[in-house]
Amino acid sequence: MAEAAAARRKLVEVQGLKMYFPITAGLLRRKVGDVKAVDDVSFELYEGETLGLVGESGCGKSTAGRAIIRLYDPTAGRVRIDGHDIGSAPQSELRRFRPLMQMVFQDPQASLNPRMTVAAIIGEPLGEHTELRGDALLRRVYELMDAVGLNRSFANRYPHEFSGGQRQRIGIARALALNPKFIVCDEPIAALDVSIQAQVVNLLEELQDRLGLTYLFISHDLSMVRHIADRVAVMYLGRIAEIGPRDGLYERPLHPYTEALLSAVPEPDPNVESRRRRIILKGDVPSPANPPPGCNFSTRCPKVMDICRRIEPVVAEVEPGRRVACHLYDKTIETAGGTAAATEARAPNKETRT
């Protein structure tokens, strides 16, 4: 899959994206620090693929998704989508690019206006960005409702008359209205029941096949991401810990955080569960306002070394298509022989470095 991806066109390129939110204090609201929600994140999406973005709550995955399509103004970094410089485009020009990129939100209850009918919700972007009016607009709305499996006779109903799964279909129809190339799906299934989750994921996959869409699929559900994504990026405390093709990442995680995260996912099989060796991380995620020095995972890492507390690891390619930010894979330590602690910590990963 990696070879095929290399030949494909990069649709989205994110470089050094930073999104800081200021912390203010006192009467004069002086700025006393930053919450570094997204701190120097780079990745790319190839046309027609799904990149899964996973991590615990508060790791900055949703903020990254919103900053990429400029629902926030990023603090620094470059974002190019389909050849257009989205990251630095002024608001006035941004409007022109909106049809290119759309978003499906987590909570279909909160992201649909309760006073608008389904037809008005799906038709709103068409009225804003296209010349379609009247019957032509309604025909397009019906087309979209067919595409997401909503009965046309529901067009004049209001969001509260629908179940969670159906509301998410309305949200997806709205996102599709302007024929976007790139859709950010921000936890689109988190608020839904298990049996409904499968329906929405099937719909997203079907639409991708038919329309050639590119998805950034943000989720904390690691088994669903394995199902839907071609490549996966793991975020921790505002930074990318590891990014790579799905199968390699799930079968042989490189970063200790990815390893711990995957080992924590319960498997629906009692026989597997009883044999499983689980890595239980100690403590909670540190505050993004005051991340630890060096590697931001060093406070919870079971394989922590001396160097991790001092020097921040860079995201480096360790295998074709697989990039990881971890000193365990540092070429320089290896050639120097490393300290006793480093050798010991490296031992379990021997197979990955030969």
């Binding site: 709550s57 049996s195 499968a198 394995r226 009692p270 403590g283």
Partner: protein, 334 residues
């Protein structure tokens, strides 16, 4: 698990009805189950299948009206909790039967310190002095893995993270050494790494304290990891009950089989469609007189529309309420 031990909680034919302006809703329909000391009973089903309402009814936590427990027996330590005086029920609740709710954000009182909230049941049910209760509260916080417990007693709930708050809830539920702990989706709102911490804690505490635990969830992965026995609920009824390995290895009810198929297995390949259960759980306006799963079932036949299947014992602690037999692909005999 201790086989043949006397059940610590025995529920028979529990029926709960909500009276609403739109008419009655039959949320719990003749539910019977029991749980033995030291056992972990998993309860699964979609939202609206009656899992939480069943557990809330048996310890009288539902507001009445609109809820009304219409019948059944809940035997705990020789007393029927549905027919005992309210004072007795209050002393059982929190003392002998602990409860952990899904959302740790809303089930702690924001204006009292965490220490006060852990000490409250100790002083109320155990009659402990302030100092003794404080010491016990510190021990409890330590036991659930909160560092620097002595100092954290003076903190308010907002000063704790989600995972820590859920630990505080567990500490409160455990305060009086309950014989039964009912946990309603206790890890659903948490991240997987925090969930793994809590599951590890529960496994550990169960061994140490030997209490019976009822664990309500819709996550079958969690159930596979911690439960001894599982009941599957649909339409306010138990449709299948089995030891955990039998349930995953040899599911009998079409609903259980469908539920197991909707979860993507981690080794599952892409482009293989996830299977879905079409439709939604029913809202029962009357006590069911036919199979409640009929409309969504791929195997339904004429008998399913005529009568509501009762639970058939299959041996080995496995029972199912269904007329269809997956072994033959036809109607079940006997």
């Amino acid at each position: 698990m201790p086989d043949g031990a006397v059940p610590v909680l025995d529920v028979r034919d529990l029926k709960t009805v909500f009276r609403t302006r739109g008419g009655e809703v039959h949320a719990v329909n003749s539910v019977s189950f029991d749980i033995r000391p030291g056992e972990l009973l998993g309860v699964v089903g979609e939202s609206g299948s009656g899992k939480s309402v069943t557990m809330m009814s048996l310890i009288g936590l539902l507001p009445s009206p609109p809820a009304e427990v219409r019948g059944g027996r809940v035997l705990f330590a020789g007393t029927d909790l549905l027919r005992c005086p309210p004072e007795h029920l209050r002393s059982v609740r929190g003392h002998d039967i602990g409860f952990i709710f899904q959302d740790p954000m809303t089930s702690l009182n924001p204006v009292f310190t965490v220490g006060f909230q852990i000490m409250e049941p100790l002083r109320r049910h155990k009659g402990m002095t302030r100092a003794a209760a404080r010491e016990r509260a510190r021990e409890l916080l330590e036991m659930v893995g909160i560092p620097d417990a002595g100092r954290r007693l003076r903190d308010y709930p907002h000063q704790f993270s989600g995972g820590m708050r859920q630990r505080v809830m567990i500490a409160i539920a455990l305060a009086c050494d309950p014989k039964v702990l009912i946990a309603d989706e206790p890890t659903t709102a948490l991240d997987v790494t925090i969930q793994a911490q809590i599951l590890e804690l529960v496994r550990d505490l169960r061994q140490k304290l030997g209490m019976a635990i009822v664990w309500i969830t819709h996550d079958l992965g969690v159930i596979a990891g911690i439960a001894d026995r599982v009941i599957v609920m649909y339409g306010g009824q138990i449709v299948e009950q089995a030891p955990v390995r039998a349930l995953f290895g040899n599911p009998q009810h079409p609903y259980t089989r469908a539920l197991l198929k909707t979860i993507p297995h981690v080794p599952g390949a892409r482009r293989e469609k996830l299977s879905v259960i079409q439709g939604q759980p029913p809202i029962l306006r009357a006590a069911p007189d036919s199979c409640a799963f009929r409309a969504r079932c791929a195997h339904a036949f004429d008998r399913c529309a005529r009568e509501n299947p009762v639970r058939i014992d299959l041996g080995g602690g496995h029972d199912v309420a269904c007329f269809w037999d997956p072994a033959t692909g036809g109607p079940r005999h006997g």
